[in-house]
């Protein structure tokens, strides 16, 4: 069995994934990715998934081995921010051509790695496999190994070609690359009883930075964030953390679970979205650290911090209540966000008329039921047409979703707010929830919606002519 299919099997059998464990042996064999239906619109591929999972590591060179499209279309499109190195934003690709397809492009890849190391000298080079180079049989693992040895520098193969599956699978394959080649390869200068990892947080629009001050206030040291605003060495020595928090519920569960297995680092699943959830996450961090031997006073410190931050956030949301009372919100997102922002929106007086659970786990769904009670409208897989219908019938006043659904909302004359990766505001932490409510308010009261909904004057019945 090739190394890719071994890996796939491994990832598919993720024991920490409740969904996977709930399946029969036969179903599990089929893998955890839903087969895509040809001809129907679908999301990103496994390559994209791996790339977005790892690209936030800021000081390494991310080299895409393939034709121009893979890097050309994905170059720096995620707003994953860096507090230092900008190397990760350079678009490195082997840009293979027809002859490479015929004769193989391994030599070109090797030379590309060499040039990167000569010109940029990053602490490591990540090499991404793509469909075409995988099909022609380029063995990036061998090339990376040879280059690693020759240049005495980590060259990490990320074997997640697009055809392997969907984006979420790619996230995991990216994680596997870290587990196989990066994590545990270096040692931190020192450790403390308060060292944690955050896994599955990409620092989109700088969200990590809204959380980091809270950790600082608790006296917690963020040893490594995988992979938002991360440096290579941080990921490499992340195995020395005392505890981990896993943020995005499904994307990198394999990293969290295997680090627990290999290095006995306990982890919990938490969220930075929503006020209650933010607080729960901080509590959980403190609890795990104490469990691992940290002095107990951190618990009180944490509670004090939570009390003051929550009070401040609610007080800042309160003024919006009047304007937002009774506004109906449709949430089209995935994973934790399908429930984690609900409380804050409800607190600001809004009503959630539906939330999509396409990318949510069973736990996510349970949470939704818990928060929203009987009125929960869980939408499993909403087609644009249904979405359009729902908006059109004015069953919602605003839709919160990713950029791809934006235009459905607009065509249905419905206010829309971006809460996925292309957004420009950070919604994490207490600060982020206040910002979200503020942005919803701005969106709802933008005069363009009046314009959008009003008929052209010649269409109204009392128009003089026509």
């Amino acid at each position: 069995m090739s190394s890719l299919s071994t890996k796939l099997q491994e990832v598919f059998e993720e024991p920490a994934c409740g969904k996977n464990q709930g399946k029969s042996e036969k179903e599990r064999k089929k893998g955890c990715t839903k087969q895509l239906s040809p001809g129907a619109a679908a999301g990103g591929c496994a390559f994209d998934g791996a790339k977005i999972a790892l690209q936030p590591i800021t000081d390494v060179a991310h080299l895409v081995h393939g034709p121009i499209a893979c890097e050309g279309n994905s170059w720096d499109n995620r707003h994953a921010l860096s507090s230092g190195a900008e190397t990760y934003r350079m678009g490195f690709t082997t840009d293979i051509n027809e002859l490479d397809v015929v004769y193989g492009a391994e030599k070109r890849l090797y030379k590309a790695i060499k040039e990167i190391i000569e010109k940029y000298d990053p602490p490591a080079v990540f090499v991404y496999q793509t469909c075409v180079t995988a099909l022609i049989g380029d063995d990036i693992e061998v090339v990376c190994k040879a280059a690693s040895k020759k240049f005495n520098k980590p060259v990490i193969p990320v074997n997640s070609p697009g055809f392997a599956g969907v984006k979420n699978l790619g996230n995991k394959l990216g994680g596997e690359a870290l587990l196989d080649h990066v994590i545990g390869t270096q040692e931190p200068d020192y450790t403390t009883p308060y060292d944690i990892n955050i896994i599955g947080e990409y620092n989109l629009s700088g969200e990590l930075w809204q959380v980091k001050p809270l950790l600082d206030a608790m006296g917690v040291r963020l040893l490594a964030c995988i992979s938002g605003d991360a440096k290579y060495k941080e990921v490499a020595y992340s195995h020395r953390a005392k505890a981990s928090m896993m943020v995005c519920s499904k994307a990198m569960i394999n990293i969290a679970r295997k680090m627990q297995e290999r290095y006995q680092i306990p982890f919990f699943e938490g969220s930075f979205y929503g006020i209650g959830d933010m607080s729960d996450s901080l509590r959980e961090i403190a609890r795990l650290l104490v469990e691992r031997g940290a002095p107990k006073d951190i618990i009180e410190r944490t509670e004090n911090l939570i009390a003051s931050e929550e009070a401040r956030a609610w007080a800042r949301i309160a003024p919006y209540k009047e304007r937002l009372q009774g506004k109906k919100v449709l949430l089209i997102t995935g994973g934790v966000k399908s429930w984690s922002v609900v409380a804050a929106l409800q607190e600001a007086g809004m009503e959630i008329v539906g939330t999509s659970v396409k990318k949510s786990t069973k736990e996510d769904k349970d949470r939704i039921k818990e928060i929203m009670g009987d009125e929960a409208h869980m939408i499993d897989d909403m087609t644009p047409r249904e979405m359009y219908k729902m908006l059109k019938e004015a069953r919602a006043d605003i839709m919160l979703s990713g950029g791809r659904s934006q235009f459905v909302a607009l065509k249905a004359k419905m206010p829309w707010l971006d809460i996925n990766q292309e957004r420009h505001h950070a919604y994490a932490g207490y600060e982020g929830m206040v910002k979200l409510v503020e942005e919803i308010d701005k969106t709802l009261y933008n005069p363009v919606w009046e314009l959008v909904r009003a008929k052209a004057p010649w269409e109204s019945p009392d128009a003089a002519t026509v």
Binding site: T443, N446, P447, L451, V452, P457, W458, A464
Partner: protein, 519 residues
């Protein structure tokens, strides 16, 4: 040596060389009696304060950096909109050189215009001889079909009587007796370029409709189904008029553009010099009397003209430089009402597209504060569009605005929640604007090229919309009217907003955390 024959430095680099830096520094120190740097800084900072603003606004005699031009400039603008018409400015030739360069710099086109070149003796004895010789020379040298006479201050101060002078010149054979020489008195010390535009337009229709200064019978109005359209003094005339024609053609409206500058200020480079190109034909100008109605896009450019046209039995309608969806809706609905023609599907689609574009980008404009200056109608149009976009036109200033205009702008503010904290200033100049920008800062400034000094002084990014635009090319070719025009203005505003975001995030390792590909 800084400069050498083999490697000559241009002005960008030359004065940055050490020798020049030293020389300029010495000159300043030894010969310019400089104040201490701290004192300079103190005064500079003081000019940014509310205290200074109060004194600045108390200014009664001095105008600093006016946002207006003179009547004859508008006169020339109006005149070249007619077929083979040579603008003839009775007065000093230096003024005329200004008008020509002004238009050439904005439209990047030659601007043909002559003067009667009055000199000192003409000032003493009157400019009659200059008129006689001038008309004769202009007629024989440049072969126009019509000469439109206006005046500079010089002729106005000594009180030259154009009507009488032109009559005398014709008697003396300067031009044939039946040659069209409409005229208008356009002193620069009254009003501004929009007044001059108004006077010349009125003069031309008076000439054709009311018996050509008693040399022909007055025209008898025989109403037809056409409408007249007057654009007014407009820096976007090339793009705008073409857009308006396209809209009228789509609506199948019979129309006459009165004062059509779109070709003369956009002539092709194909080996032929066109001193005159396009323009309203003289026949159309005369027949315009029969039209059903006249629509002016700029009320303050056509106050007298519309009043005159109104007395000839047509409906007249004045708009205020409509920009944006609602303003264009109103314009089209009026055209539809007057002509009985429906709005074609194509325009309905264009409307939908611009609404879509506004919605796509609304978050970036929402709540942004703008300062805005320009001609009164342009200010009204743009302020209306900004309100429509959810932006706040915080300061709206027209040096050539009047009291009635202030009320109209205020009414516009009052019509939108986004107008709540907005203020209107008439008769103020760009030095007033400077104080406003320092004491009540805004996110963006909209104005003409002269706004770049305000941009430099106050750090308020300038979006160039207005007249003149000297330091950016070809924007006059794009319409700002119609739904397409709204789209253009939207894009210009957005471009600047995004440029600013990029500029604020561009320093590697310092601010570039959000130097993003996707905005």
């Amino acid at each position: 040596m800084t400069q050498s024959a083999t490697h000559v430095l241009d002005h960008f680099d030359l004065f940055r060389q050490p020798e020049y830096k030293e020389m300029l520094e010495n000159k300043r120190k030894n010969f310019e009696n400089p104040v201490a740097a701290e004192e300079l800084e103190r005064v500079r900072e003081w000019t940014k304060t509310g205290e200074y603003r109060e004194q600045n606004f108390a200014r009664s005699a001095l105008t600093v950096n006016p946002a207006k031009a003179c009547q004859p400039l508008g006169a020339v603008f109006a005149a070249v909109g007619f077929e083979s018409t040579l603008p003839f400015v009775h007065g000093s030739q230096g003024c005329v050189a200004y008008y020509r360069s002004h238009f050439s710099r904005h439209f990047k086109e030659p601007c043909s215009c002559v003067s009667s070149s009055m000199t000192e003796d003409a000032a003493v004895f009157g400019g009659l001889n200059n008129m006689i010789d001038g008309l004769a020379n202009a007629h024989s040298l440049y072969k126009p079909k019509m000469i439109s006479v206006s005046t500079t201050c010089m002729a106005e101060v000594i009180g030259d009587d154009l009507n009488a002078f032109i009559k005398t010149a014709k008697e003396k054979g300067s031009v044939p007796a039946d040659f069209d020489v409409p005229f208008a008195h356009t002193p620069a010390f009254v009003g501004s370029h929009i007044t001059g535009y108004d006077n010349v337009m009125k003069g031309i229709f008076e000439h054709f409709w009311d018996g050509k200064a008693n040399t022909a019978p007055k025209l008898e109005r025989v109403p037809n189904e056409k409408i007249n359209f007057i654009g007014g003094f407009d820096g976007y005339t090339v793009g705008n008029l073409r857009e308006i024609k396209r809209i009228f053609n789509l609506m199948q409206v019979g129309y006459t553009i009165l004062g059509d500058n779109s070709d003369v200020w956009d002539t092709p480079t194909d080996g032929t010099f066109r001193m005159y190109d396009g323009g309203t034909t003289l026949e159309d100008a005369a027949n315009a009397v029969h039209a059903k109605a006249t629509i002016s896009m700029q009320q303050y450019c056509t106050e007298k003209t519309l009043a005159f046209i109104g007395t000839h039995g047509q409906e007249v309608l004045a708009l205020n430089h409509p920009v944006g969806v609602a303003a264009t809706d109103k314009f089209l609905m009026e055209v539809s009402r007057i002509t009985g023609k429906g709005i074609p599907e194509e325009l309905a689609k264009e409307r939908g597209r611009v609404v879509d574009a506004i919605a796509d980008s609304s978050a970036h404009i929402h709540g942004k504060k703008f300062a805005l200056y320009g001609d009164p109608d342009l200010c009204l149009g743009l302020a209306g569009f900004l309100l429509e976009l959810g932006a706040e036109p915080t300061h709206v200033l027209a040096t050539n605005g009047n009291k009635e205009w202030i009320e109209r702008v205020q009414a516009l503010f009052d019509s939108s929640p986004f107008g709540k904290n907005c203020h209107v200033y008439a008769g103020k100049d760009l030095w007033h604007m400077r104080s406003l920008l320092f004491t009540e800062p805004v996110d963006f400034l909209i104005g003409n090229t002269y706004g770049k000094f305000l941009e430099r002084d106050t750090g308020t990014p300038l979006i160039r919309i207005g007249f003149p635009i000297f330091d950016r090319h070809h924007h006059h070719r794009y319409p700002v009217w119609g739904y397409q025009g709204a789209m253009n203005v939207l894009v210009w505003i957005l471009d600047k907003i995004f440029d600013e975001i990029d500029k604020n995030t561009i320093v590697p390792g310092k601010t570039d955390f959000s130097f993003d590909i996707i905005r």
